[in-house]
C-alpha cells in the first residue's frame, strides 16, 4: 500500500503547525477574547489577544480541532503579534478571499497561510481553516461597534451562515 498523496491539502507546513502549534500559552487579562464553534464538527476554539499601543502583543489560540483548524490557529498566533487591528482585519480579509478562491491582494503578507490554499478544494474543511479567524473577527467587530472589550460568545456564526456549506 502506498502512502496517501495530497498535493494540496495536508502540506508539510500544516503538519508542522499541527504537531507544534504556536499560541498555546494562555493570554492573561486579554483585551479581545472570543469563543467559536464549528457547527459541522463541534470543535471549539478560544482566541485571546492582548494589545499594547494599538498593536497585538500576545495571542493565544486554545481548544481542540483537526489538523487544519489547529494549523490555521497556530498561524494566526504566529502572524498577529506586532500588527494593528486594521492590519489584522486586512489579513483576515485576504485569507477569507483565498478560501473562497477569490484571489489574495498583492499587498498583504500572508506568511504560512499560503500553505492552506489547498483547503479551498475541500468545501467541508473551509470552516476548519476559518474557525479561529472568524472567531477573532466576531470579537473585533463587536469591539469596533462600541461593545468594548471582552465580548464572549459561545457560538460563532461562521461567515454569518453557520450550518453546512450551500
Amino acid at each position: 500500500m502506498e502512502e496517501p498523496r495530497f498535493n494540496d491539502l495536508y502540506r508539510d507546513i500544516i503538519l508542522d503547525h499541527y504537531r507544534r502549534p504556536r499560541g498555546r500559552t494562555p493570554v492573561t487579562s486579554p483585551d479581545v477574547e472570543n469563543e467559536g464553534l464549528n457547527p459541522v464538527c463541534g470543535d471549539e476554539v478560544k482566541v485571546s489577544i492582548k494589545l499594547e499601543d494599538g498593536r497585538v502583543k500576545h495571542v493565544s489560540v486554545l481548544g481542540r480541532g483537526c489538523a487544519i483548524s489547529t494549523a490555521s490557529g497556530s498561524m494566526l498566533a504566529e502572524l498577529l503579534p506586532g500588527k494593528t487591528l486594521d492590519e489584522v482585519e486586512k489579513l483576515f480579509k485576504a485569507f477569507k478571499r483565498m478560501m473562497h478562491d477569490e484571489g489574495v491582494p498583492q499587498d498583504v503578507e500572508i506568511g504560512d497561510l499560503d500553505s492552506l490554499e489547498g483547503v479551498k478544494n475541500y468545501p467541508v474543511r473551509i470552516k476548519c481553516a476559518l474557525l479561529s479567524w472568524v472567531t477573532l473577527e466576531d470579537a473585533l467587530n463587536s469591539l469596533r461597534s462600541g461593545q468594548n472589550q471582552l465580548d464572549k460568545t459561545t457560538t460563532t456564526e461562521l461567515e454569518g451562515k453557520g450550518g453546512f456549506a450551500l
Binding site: L37, P39, V40, G42, P123, V124, R125, T155, E157, K161, G162, G163, F164, A165, L166
Partner: protein, 424 residues
C-alpha cells in the same frame, strides 16, 4: 394571462413551437401500450410522466455517488452533497433568481403547506384571527388550516367561487379584515384550470399586513413564474407535477422569514447543538430539513427543471394554451358534455374538467382506459368546488408538453364511443 397579475405574462407571438414528436421520444413510458392501444396520458395535473434524463440521473446517483450528505468527509459524501445542493440552486434559478437559502425541500407540496401551518401558523395565529382561503382550494391548502383553526380558535374565510369558475373578488375588501393574518391561495386550480389573480389578492392582503401563501402546485409546471415579480411570503409546489420524481416538494420563502420561524420537524441535520433538554437550530434552509433528506430524488430533480428550461416555460404555456383551446372546441361539439371553469382558454391552464349528463365520470374514465386514454375522474381533492357545482365528481383531462391534438382527438372520439356503448 393578464388575470394572473404578477405571474409573468405569456410568450412573445413568435415563440418557437414545441417539437412534440421529439419530446415524446424522451419519455419512455409513452412508448407503452395500454389494453393494446397507444397510451394517451391526460392525467398530468395528478402527476406528470418523467423524461429519460431524470430517470437516468436517479439511477446514476445510486450507481455512482450515493452517500448520506453534509457531514461526511469522503468522496461519495462530497459528490452526493454537491448534487443535492446543486438542485437547490437550480430551483432558485428556475424561480427567477431566488435565494437558494430560501429553498426548502419537503416531501411534496402538501408537506410544504403544513410546514407553514405548523412552524409559522401555530406561533402566529391567535384565537379570533382570520385565515382567508378560497372556495377553490385543493384539500392540501384547506385541511392544514382547518386543523390549525380548530386548535387555535381561529376563523376560516373563503373567497367565493362563481358560476364561471373564477373567484368572486367583489367583496374582497370585506373578506380581508384587520384580523386577517394569512391569505393562502392557489395560483392555478387543479379542478377547474382557472388561473387566479394572485397579484390582486396579495395586494389586498398587504393592506392589512397579512402574510401570503401561494400554492403553486399547478402553476410552476405550466406557467413562467418569476418570484421577483410575484408578491408572496410562502410558495409551495411539488416536483412530481413538473417532470420530477415523487417524494420532493419545495417551500420557498425569504431566508429572514424562515429564520424568524420556529422549527417544524426535529432531528438530525436541523440542529446546531443538542443538550439533554435543549437544542439550538442550524441555519436555514437546513433548520427545516430534519433527518436524511430524499437525497437521490432531489439530486435528480435538477434534470427535470433543466429539461423544462431547455424547452422554455413561455413555450410550455403557449403549447398548453393551444391544446386547451382545441380541446374545449372539440368537447363542445358533444352536446351532453358541460365544461366547468372559465370559457376563455386564456384564463386557464391546460386543464379541462367536464361532466357528461348521462355518464358518471368514473364510468367514463373506465371506458377511456380501454382506449388507452388516461384521464382523472373524481373530486380532484376539491370537494368545495364539487359541492359548488352540485356534483361529486368530474372527468378531467390535463395536458403537458408531450400531448398534441391527436391525443385530444382520441379523447373526444373515445367519449363518443363511450356514450354509444352505454346506449346514449
Amino acid at each position: 394571462m393578464s388575470a394572473a397579475g404578477t405571474i409573468t405574462s405569456g410568450p412573445p407571438a413568435q415563440a418557437r413551437k414545441l417539437d412534440v414528436a421529439r419530446i415524446r421520444g424522451d419519455f419512455p413510458i409513452l412508448k407503452r401500450q395500454v389494453h393494446g392501444k397507444r397510451l394517451v396520458y391526460l392525467d398530468n395535473a395528478a402527476t406528470t410522466q418523467k423524461p429519460e434524463c431524470m430517470i437516468e440521473a436517479l439511477g446514476s446517483f445510486y450507481r455512482t455517488s450515493n452517500a448520506n450528505i453534509h457531514r461526511g468527509i469522503h468522496k461519495l459524501a462530497e459528490e452526493a452533497t454537491g448534487l443535492y445542493e446543486a438542485t437547490r440552486k437550480v430551483v432558485a434559478r428556475f424561480l427567477g433568481g431566488a435565494d437558494p437559502h430560501g429553498v426548502i425541500f419537503t416531501r411534496n407540496c402538501t408537506e410544504a403547506i403544513n410546514l407553514v401551518a405548523y412552524a409559522w401558523g401555530r406561533h402566529n395565529i391567535k384565537p379570533g384571527d382570520e385565515v382567508l382561503l378560497t372556495e377553490m382550494e385543493h384539500h392540501s391548502n384547506l385541511v392544514p388550516w382547518i386543523i390549525l383553526a380548530r386548535e387555535k380558535g381561529a376563523v376560516l374565510k373563503h373567497i367565493p367561487l362563481q358560476e364561471n369558475g373564477t373567484l368572486r373578488l367583489d367583496d374582497l375588501d370585506k373578506l380581508v379584515t384587520p384580523r386577517t393574518k394569512l391569505v393562502s391561495c392557489m395560483m392555478v386550480s387543479n379542478a377547474l384550470g382557472t388561473i387566479n389573480p394572485v397579484g390582486e389578492i396579495a395586494a389586498m392582503a398587504r393592506r392589512v399586513g397579512a402574510k401570503v401563501l401561494l400554492d403553486g402546485a399547478q402553476a410552476l409546471p405550466h406557467l413562467p413564474v418569476d418570484v421577483k415579480k410575484l408578491d408572496f411570503d410562502f410558495l409551495a409546489f411539488s416536483a412530481h407535477k413538473m417532470l420530477g420524481p415523487t417524494g420532493v416538494g419545495v417551500l420557498h420563502a425569504r431566508p429572514e422569514l424562515l429564520r424568524s420561524m420556529e422549527p417544524f420537524l426535529g432531528g438530525g441535520e436541523m440542529i446546531r447543538e443538542v443538550r439533554h433538554d435543549s437544542a439550538t437550530w442550524n441555519e436555514v434552509p437546513h433548520k427545516f430539513e430534519a433527518g436524511t433528506p430524499n437525497i437521490a430524488d432531489v439530486a435528480a430533480f435538477s434534470s427535470s427543471i433543466e429539461y423544462l428550461e431547455a424547452i422554455g416555460m413561455p413555450q410550455v404555456r403557449e403549447h398548453e394554451l393551444s391544446l386547451c383551446r382545441y380541446a374545449m372546441a372539440e368537447l363542445r361539439k358533444i352536446p351532453s358534455i358541460r365544461i366547468l371553469g372559465p370559457e376563455d382558454p386564456n384564463l386557464r391552464s391546460g386543464v379541462v374538467s367536464f361532466v357528461d349528463q348521462d355518464l358518471h365520470p368514473h364510468d367514463l374514465s373506465q371506458i377511456l382506459d380501454q382506449h388507452g386514454v388516461a384521464i382523472r375522474a373524481g373530486h380532484h381533492c376539491a370537494q368545495l368546488v364539487m359541492r359548488f357545482f352540485k356534483t361529486v365528481a368530474t372527468a378531467r383531462a390535463s395536458f403537458y408538453i408531450y400531448n398534441d391534438r391527436d391525443d385530444i382527438d382520441v379523447l373526444v372520439e373515445s367519449l363518443r364511443l363511450a356514450r354509444k356503448y352505454f346506449g346514449f
